[in-house]
């Protein structure tokens, strides 16, 4: 946003006389010195292009992410898997963008290991952390001729993810496996439950599964509806599939 300055010293001097002026007069003077609010400048989010292939992940990385998503939130009768909901594509787009680059994170060194309470101390922003961690995981699992993560059986994958979560998988190098698991799980949950405009939660399926009605603006009619099922289907910022014009 460009620098905005309203400088009215040139318009009126200070002092009690100016302050005593009625609001209407002051408002007119304000108009003369420039509007604060500008029309048509709101920032609607940009919808993710769902048609394209991966733009951040390499094929090997995508194989890991898809396999991990399928275990973190598996497909069953309750609802879609993270893969079905679009979490891998969501994550790809997030890591390719500002978030992946850590645009809002403090990324100056020196980098230290950190205590258990000092939070994110990886030397990479999220994109680099995923890249380094996936590589380290692959090396860890294939070191003695083992199969990479995505070729393993589901039970074996779950066991490895549990080790990662508990900090029991020694990945070597500078990758903190436990910290990476936290980031991965957080990102997958984001992809599962976010607004569909970002590529995840496709078909609003995750919201349907739990009963979250989405980006609704007025819930006044339902505050006092004790113990009543909510009657409306979920809706995203960009609407919902039923609103799309067919053909």
């Amino acid at each position: 946003m460009p620098q905005f300055q309203v400088d009215r010293r040139a318009v009126l001097g200070l002092g009690a006389a100016a302050c005593a002026a009625p609001l209407a007069a002051a408002a007119a003077q304000f108009t003369a010195s420039g509007m604060v609010w500008q029309a048509n400048t709101s920032a609607f989010p940009t919808a993710v292009d769902l048609s394209a292939h991966y733009v951040f992940f390499t094929p090997d990385e995508a194989a890991f992410i898809e396999a991990a998503c399928a275990r973190l939130i598996p497909a069953d009768a309750t609802g879609p898997s993270a893969v079905q909901a679009g979490a891998p594509l969501f994550l790809d787009r997030q890591l390719a963008g500002e978030y992946g680059k850590g645009a809002r994170l403090y990324m100056q060194g020196p980098f230290g290991k950190g205590t258990a309470t000092q939070g994110y101390q990886a030397r990479w922003p999220p994109a680099g952390f995923h890249r380094a961690a996936i590589k380290a995981i692959d090396e860890h699992l294939t070191r003695n001729g083992g199969a990479p993560f995505h070729r393993r059986a589901a039970a074996d994958q779950d066991a490895f993810l549990k080790d990662l979560e508990a900090g029991k998988a020694e990945l070597g190098g500078e990758v903190d496996g436990k910290a990476y698991f936290k980031l991965l799980l957080q990102n997958v949950m984001e992809g599962y439950f976010c607004d569909p405009i970002y590529g995840g939660n496709q078909g609003l399926a995750a919201w349907k599964m739990i009963g979250f009605p989405g980006a609704r603006y007025d819930q006044r009619a339902y505050v006092l509806a004790y113990n009543q099922p909510y009657p409306l289907p979920p809706v995203g910022i960009g609407g919902r599939p039923a609103w799309s014009v067919k053909g």
């Binding site: 620098q3 100016a18 020196p110 950190g114 309470t117 980006a215 819930q219 006044r220 004790y226 910022i237």
Partner: protein, 589 residues
């Protein structure tokens, strides 16, 4: 070389709640006021549009309304023997940035501290004796009383259009309100919000246990409201996106929705955004602030002379600016001497989930301060004899809106992922209430703020360093509150409950509260406080420091009501006394 600008009467550093309140008051007094805000201009239709405001990923998880840590952050550690590392990502607290500050993305929880909270040391000494306050607990009395602040609490509540029910009108306890609150002169400006099912079940169970439930006072308007400045707010629509979000409906009080429509039009007010103050400048003798130096978004430096300098940024920024400007004696935890950075405090939270099988709660219907609360265990509203701690907190069910990336309440034994997690979340999402506790943190000799020796911000200045941990007092108090919450949670009649106590050291990752306090505290003695009772620097009498920076320790309530009341109190002193005897201390040192 900084370009020197024409002088102004008063310059404000930071333009959130305290800056907007002070600017409104000082322009009313006829001063020519300049506010410098380092962030962007933000207004409701442009930046908080209801067409896309309900976006959890963008606003909470991607931090769009919050401070950019790539620009500056702070370093953190639990104790002085550790090496502080940068808070690289926001977590435990969510610093604001831009016009309106953190007051844009608050919940709207408006409390008055208890009368006894303002006398934390003398009150506890008197009631429990010397042994109740350990040597390293550095609590102090506020230099103001509840009665001093009462008209100013009132002014803020009417500015915001707070929705609530008085519990104590001029000393007479009122049914339906908070019987523990200090006496108020009149009723809230608006009636309580409609109460959803979960908080109602809590209120019923609490009352059956002999507690005193009442609706949380909310700066979320229960009906259309025109405030005393003539600014209109709309009725809250319970969309469930207050906390961590901005309101697109003009229903949640903020500088934007209560003051700016009037203030921005004043000819004697100027706001400059994207203008970051780097230093408060002093006269040669160090006893007068001559103005400030700031840098614009093109990196150009300006010197802004001013008769009156007012720090109105968030507490951590106020303290850092004092340290970077060399004002006041920095606090030394080894000796206990010095005042800048002293008595940093926070709050301690916990919760107890209640899982129902037969009750649909629709937790996504919400508002920031919508809930039922008890203050039976806040402050000194209960007998602490033999409990091993002082202080307390509130307990209640707040239904702020169960955004789905954030809200994963699952029962004991359920994993955080996988098929079993999915089964639990799908079964329990609509049928879980959370009884929250929100407790005080007393100040402690080893908890303080100073400048980090290693890490720098984008402008090359040292980061602030925070050394903080919960002490035994806080853990005992929070455990006690959690137990009281669990009693009520159990009585709510669900399938099962799950307690989530706060254990171990303070952790920067999980969100707790953005209720950081202290570091340039107010007091009666220049040796133990940075400001006098009017938030005026003892050392530099034309410098005032606003905000929770002034709290000698924290209370069990959300701080904004007290922050605003202190701001109005200071503004009143500046208007009625300071301006009549310029540059003079309002309290003899």
């Amino acid at each position: 070389m900084a370009t020197k600008l024409p002088p102004v009467d008063a310059v404000l550093v930071g333009f959130g709640w305290t800056g907007a309140i002070m600017a409104q008051e000082l322009t009313e007094a006829g001063l020519n006021v300049l506010a410098l805000e380092r962030g962007d201009w933000r207004d409701t239709p442009t930046d908080f549009s209801p067409a896309y405001a309900q976006d959890e990923l963008r606003y909470y998880w991607r931090h769009e309304l919050f401070q950019r840590l790539n620009h500056d952050t702070l370093t953190i550690r639990n104790k002085a023997s550790e090496t502080a590392l940068p808070m690289r990502q926001l977590g435990s607290f969510l610093l604001g940035s831009g016009v309106g500050g953190a007051g844009v993305h608050w919940n709207g929880q408006v409390w008055r501290f208890l009368p006894s909270d303002f006398k934390a040391r003398s009150h506890n000494l008197q009631r429990y004796g010397k042994a109740a306050i350990p040597d390293d607990m550095t609590i102090q009395d506020y230099p103001v009383t509840y009665d001093d602040l009462e008209p100013h609490f009132d002014k803020f509540e009417y500015l915001c259009g707070v929705s609530g029910k008085a519990g104590n009108l001029k000393g007479v306890i009122q049914p339906g309100g908070d019987p523990f609150e200090g006496p108020r002169q009149r009723e809230y400006p608006n009636p309580p919000l409609d109460m959803p099912y979960g908080p109602t079940l809590f209120g019923k169970a609490a009352a059956e246990l002999g507690r005193h439930p009442f609706p949380h006072p909310a700066a979320n308007c229960s009906r259309p409201y025109t405030n005393p400045l003539g600014v209109q707010l709309g009725q809250c629509t319970y969309c469930g996106f207050c906390e961590k979000y901005a309101c697109g409906n003009y229903s949640k009080a903020s500088a934007q929705t209560t003051i700016l429509p009037v203030l921005m039009r004043k000819p004697n007010f100027t706001l400059k955004t994207n203008s970051e103050v780097t230093k408060v400048n002093l006269s040669a003798d160090g006893k007068t602030a001559t103005g400030v130096t700031y840098i614009d978004d093109k990196g150009q430096a300006f010197e802004q002379p001013a008769e009156l300098v007012i720090l109105s940024a968030y507490i951590l920024h106020n303290v850092r600016l004092l340290l970077l400007s060399g004002i006041g004696k920095p606090y030394d935890p080894a000796t206990g001497q010095g005042v800048v950075g002293k008595n940093y405090a926070y709050q301690i939270t916990s919760s107890v989930n209640v899982f129902f099988d037969d009750k649909i709660l629709n937790p996504f219907v919400g508002a920031g301060a919508l809930g039922t609360i008890i203050n039976d265990f806040n402050g000194d509203n209960f007998d602490h004899s033999g409990l091993g701690f002082i202080g307390g907190g509130y307990v209640g069910v707040l239904q702020t809106g169960a955004r789905p990336i954030e809200t994963h309440n699952t029962p004991t034994g359920a994993p955080a992922w996988g098929a079993a997690w999915k089964t639990a979340i799908a079964r329990d999402y609509l049928k879980t209430a959370s009884v929250a506790t929100h407790g005080a943190v007393m100040s402690h000799r080893g908890n303080y703020l100073d400048l980090d020796p290693t890490y720098k911000d984008a402008l090359g200045r040292p980061l602030l360093r925070m050394t903080f941990d919960f002490t035994d007092n806080e853990h005992r108090m929070s455990d006690y509150l959690t137990d009281r919450a669990a009693e009520i949670a159990k009585a709510m009649g669900g399938r099962e409950i799950k307690a989530n106590p706060r254990k171990g050291s303070w952790d920067v990752v999980p969100y707790q509260t953005t209720h950081n306090t202290g570091g340039a505290i107010m007091g009666d003695d220049p040796k133990t406080s940075f400001t006098n009772r009017y938030l005026q620097s003892w050392d530099v009498p034309n410098l005032f420091v606003l905000g929770a920076t002034a709290f000698p320790q924290n209370a069990g309530y959300n701080p904004t009501g007290t922050v605003a009341a202190l701001t109005y109190y200071a503004a009143d002193a500046i208007r009625t006394r300071y301006l009549k005897a310029s540059h003079q201390p309002l309290v003899p040192a």
